[in-house]
Symmetry: C2
Subunit: 339 residues, 2 copies
Amino acid sequence: MLHVAEAARVSVATVSALLNGTATVSPELTQRIEQAIRDIGYKRNAIARSLKMGTTRTIGLTVPHITNPFFTDVVSVIQQAFDRAGYAVMLCCTDEDLNTQDEQIRLLLDRMVDGLIVARVGDGGILKGIVEDANVPVVLLDRLCEGVDTDAVVLDNRRAVFDAVTYLIHLGHRRIGYITGTSDISPMHDRMIGYREALQAAGLPVAEELVRSGNFHEVDGYNATMQLLSLHDRPSAIFSANNPMVIGTMKAIRDIGLSCPEDISVACFDDFPWSDVFVPQLTTVAQPVQAIGEQAANLLLDRLAGNRDAPPRRLVLKGRLMIRNSCRPLGAIAQSVSA
Amino acid sequence: MLHVAEAARVSVATVSALLNGTATVSPELTQRIEQAIRDIGYKRNAIARSLKMGTTRTIGLTVPHITNPFFTDVVSVIQQAFDRAGYAVMLCCTDEDLNTQDEQIRLLLDRMVDGLIVARVGDGGILKGIVEDANVPVVLLDRLCEGVDTDAVVLDNRRAVFDAVTYLIHLGHRRIGYITGTSDISPMHDRMIGYREALQAAGLPVAEELVRSGNFHEVDGYNATMQLLSLHDRPSAIFSANNPMVIGTMKAIRDIGLSCPEDISVACFDDFPWSDVFVPQLTTVAQPVQAIGEQAANLLLDRLAGNRDAPPRRLVLKGRLMIRNSCRPLGAIAQSVSA
DNA sequence: TGACAGATTCGAAACGTTTAGATTAGCGTT
DNA sequence: AACGCTAATCTAAACGTTTCGAATCTGTCA
């Protein structure tokens, strides 16, 4: 900017005024300055600007795994929304590890991000302190956090799983395997409640051996399914907690020599584009990813626009059961259906 | 830092020296300073640091679509690599649009990223000028760019498609539909050559009506497949350019009432975790995503480490044909196989 | 004619660091 | 006692902006 100012024979203050439109500058100087900018190929240094202004127009976004299609989609939506608003997005993957998450958040905070969207991992960590300091607004995505009172967008997980399990029960299933993620995050907790309530509502027992948990990876789903399938009285249906884990479930079913839905019915959380192009077409609980991403972005953008001291807002969205053909009717129902 | 210095009764220079280890500071002052840092909860402002140092320890990464699993995986690997090196990653999606890409790159450059990894889109744009200015190192990912001479990591696309099509020919297929992306980017160009060469090597004609192109989206794959399937003499096999497009292909096959591989064989570019868990298990060309991401990161990290004027390096990696059961043998071969 | 208002433009401080070079203190030598 | 050397610390300038308040200029009006 100094060079531009010299070349145009004006002060840097005038260049700045023109660039920001903060004061009127005469046509003549405007012309000279614009010419100088073109000649020099000047680009404003956003770092210096950030330092002075105290805002970077950059936000931080952390997710456990970007390769999980649910997060991929949400990240994509969020990125677009902030892009439209002129913000840059720094993306971090925490790999479901609390220490990693804390490091990443520190990294982002060091770089003075204006706000944070966090699909958190583990419990606690530095997140709580950050929200309490209230220097940078934080929006929780997908997962609430005990004792952290801030804006959040989540699914009605309890209800979503309740509906899915109830659907399986209506098909005649009595022993329904349930594969969950690590229990320390809110969605897994709520979904488990939905599972139990659905069984109870139908007067069915909750058999603890039918509940398995894993750390969200394909291999965890595989192992959990193997365990379920080698039970003496194995389940006739399995509900799996997310996309990577259901892939493990399908592989386990294949490897053990069974097939879906003939021998075992499968449903899972999270829908994806190819859910219905292969055989079996998977019955899933679709999350409104577009809405989730947009709402999270909007909550943060609203804070960034200055609405700092409104009370924390919590948005709860509804999932949608996508019934396809990976679950088959059992017993009497099967007969009436096939009749 | 000023407050810390005051609280510890030292100068800011000493605090800085301690923090950066650029000079020895006495045990006594060290202790006072550390105490003050704890008391105040001081965090160094990376923006001010960046301004002074001229480096942000942040890189920019642009991809056409993060929801394409290929890019998702590569982004994930790259993000991890830079995270390990203490860099932050700003992610942008260009949506296969040159103007968007130019805007995003400008946004990143404004923010003084130290380097750029670009899976480019369209042709030209501001990319060329940036590489020539040589202020920030650029690594091209997946796609080369005419006239832009810089580090790059790409696949041997010609060879990969040559192998895949040759495989189909060996199965007895003679009319092989080919669905490509927009032809202005290098991989699509090279792959097309691979397709033609494979046909020619087998003495087969290249029928132009069997070649269709689309803009990488599911719907484009759907439309292209519909066109291929409604040809008078329809192909017995289809090779589809990427993951979203092959989903469209599978949907079109289903909607038209055919099935794969019985009526039509399908293969595609890019492998993904669930390629082999559903029916049919897709035959694909797997790209070494891990290696691609790591190499791209390494090239850039090397430049960032100061190796600025080494000549541009171009890494060409090999794809791998993953043979599954979405392609069936035809004619005489089919008989000998089933015999 | 002189004072005043409004429109432009400018000088300089500030944002929070890093760092070159100056200063100071401590200590062994001669 | 004077000197030089080393180690520790400090002063102040710089990075590239924004912005406050002051300065200048041009008319206008009493």
